[in-house]
Amino acid sequence: MSNPLSAKSEDKDKIYKPSRATRLFLVWKKLRRSTLAVAGFGIVLVVAIAALLAPVIAPYDIDWTGSSRRPPSMEHWFGTDARGRDMFSLILYGARISLYVGIAAVSLELVIGLAIGMISGYFGGVVDEVLMRITDVILTLPELPLLIVAVAMFAVRSIHVIILVMGVVGWPFMARVVRSEFLSLKESTYVEAAKSMGASSWRIIFRHIMPNILSTIIVIGTMDIPWYIFYEATLTFLGFGDPSSPSWGVLLEKGYLYLGSQWWMITFPGLALLFTSLGFNLFGDGLRDALDVTMRR
């Protein structure tokens, strides 16, 4: 070392450096500190496995029919429905559709919300003004009636129509959060420093600001998944669903008719919905703490 100012303590500085994989492990280690977060992660994992491996795990095919309206027993853990199908298998297959609805709608929300929030927050001015007024209008309208009207406008009853409508109705909150993050981060010294090094606007948006709001986006996305699963179930329950995709909402709608006598038909899909929602919320909460880069020390 030629520089007289260089410190000499080289050996002391050989400290442990985590690799990328280890860093993921560190997030997990932080997540593990909270029992509730681990419970949430466990539930999400169980639901995800149930959805992915439904054809393997399910004891009966969804088309299989036996004697109808049987109460829970060893053969049919959650009983059978009005058409004699196995409720447990139906719930497993329903997880596929419900989870798909949640993830697809969140993805749509992310794309729209991120684009609008980022343009609004970073560029500001008239564009921001116009975009935010549109956002306000959507936020002012009550969600459920808006969803019902929007779904009813389509001639086809399809799960994809529901996803599309929910994503289009659901983005304003994400856009608001992304916008506010952009507003504060674009003023930060490191963005200033990046600009002073000659970085372009797009480079600053995607390379310097986006990674810093990633954890916020992941947390909101995680917490919004059950929200969409719930709304799909609600829409289906109210008769705006897609009967050809047996989501948990469809099961609830059918089970509702037997609420007084065959309680298992509505209870088990309801519980599945409840636990999934709880799981995603707990997991999202835990992630919020675990993902904070600057808090890793």
């Binding site: 002073s196 990674p211 810093n212």
Partner: protein, 321 residues
């Protein structure tokens, strides 16, 4: 080509607020020669940082450069396109900031960020970049740079981060380095180290420096010339000895009297009476006259131009008419 590297003529940068127009930089003239270091001193809010950002054309809304010229090697930066400016920023003019702890992006390693700066301005084969990062970090005195460059900014101390920032700024051999209070947030021993480092690097890289600060001691360490700013105006401009030993402007004199001294026993610290005027509605005439002990009738009526009183000494005060 002009004889100076940076030539600021009649620069005006105003902030358009709801309450009115803040003339943060009002018809300022400055020159920085090749290899020269200019110290820009003044109280907080006198427009010195705004001047630095104006040269980089990084003034944010609601601020705007409304007039003047900024010649950099004979070319007016204010007439450049945004794309041309991006090439100049970082490549030919670089900047370091007041708060090193927040000047680096927390999600990338130090190596990653310096490499990005190099990639933006230089055509270097991929495998050459890493060596360059190690080199420059070694030059600024980061111990075992090959290891430490893989650290995240929060794993560095404030002093080390400022070294890393200097490394990033110098990575593309800029001709001008704008240092906006580079030592303000560091403690005194680190301050001395950073100043020492800047002195060494100045010799090695030969870059001109615009050193912005309010600490007269820091300014005197590094500068060849000094410009004193008050309320958006340059009030005194001279070489180092001119300002520090033959201080002329009443404001500059008052500034020096306000510096706490250990060798003289005093009851209280000297203060300049009054406060820096709000720039939305600055005092008429000389902006310092309401606080000046030598104020005359003309001071409130006319704005003093810069009077040349020595070979390299200019003062904006009617006392030296």
């Amino acid at each position: 080509m002009s004889e100076s590297l940076l030539n600021v003529n009649d620069l005006k940068t105003y902030y358009y607020l709801a309450e009115g127009v803040v003339k943060a930089v009002d018809r300022v003239n400055l020159k920085i020669g090749y290899g020269e270091a200019l110290g820009l001193v003044g109280e907080s809010g006198c427009g010195k940082s705004t001047l630095g950002f104006s040269v980089m054309r990084l003034i944010r809304h609601p601020g705007r450069i409304v007039g003047g010229e900024v010649f950099f090697e004979g070319e007016d930066l204010l007439k450049k396109s945004e794309a041309e400016m991006r090439n100049i920023r970082g490549g030919r003019i670089a900047m370091i900031f007041q708060n090193p702890m927040s000047s680096m992006n927390p999600v990338y390693t130090v190596e990653n960020q310096i490499a990005e700066a190099i990639k933006l301005h230089q055509e270097i084969p991929k495998d050459g970049i890493k060596g360059k990062v190690v080199d420059i970090l070694d030059k600024v005195g980061i111990p075992s740079p090959e290891e430490r460059m893989k650290d995240y900014p929060h794993e560095y101390s404030g002093g080390m981060l400022q070294r890393a920032m200097i490394a990033m700024a110098l990575s593309c051999n800029p001709e001008l380095l704008i240092a906006d209070e580079p030592t303000t947030n560091l403690d005194v021993t680190i301050q001395a180290q950073i100043l020492e480092l800047m002195k060494i690097l100045r010799k090695e890289f030969g870059a001109s420096i615009l050193l912005i600060g309010h600490d007269l001691g820091v300014i005197s360490e590094l500068s060849d010339k000094v410009a004193v700013m008050y309320a958006g105006k340059v009030v005194e401009y001279s070489d180092l000895t001119g300002v520090f030993e033959k201080t002329k402007h009443p404001y500059t004199q008052a500034l020096f009297e306000s510096v706490p001294r250990l060798d003289v026993e005093t009851e209280r610290l000297h203060i300049i009476r009054g406060t820096v005027p709000r720039l939305i509605n600055p005092p008429s005439g000389c902006r310092f006259h309401p606080r000046c002990d030598h104020a005359m009738k003309i001071c409130s009526e006319q704005e003093p131009p810069l009077f040349k009183i020595g070979k390299k000494h200019e003062v904006a005060c009617f006392l030296y008419r």
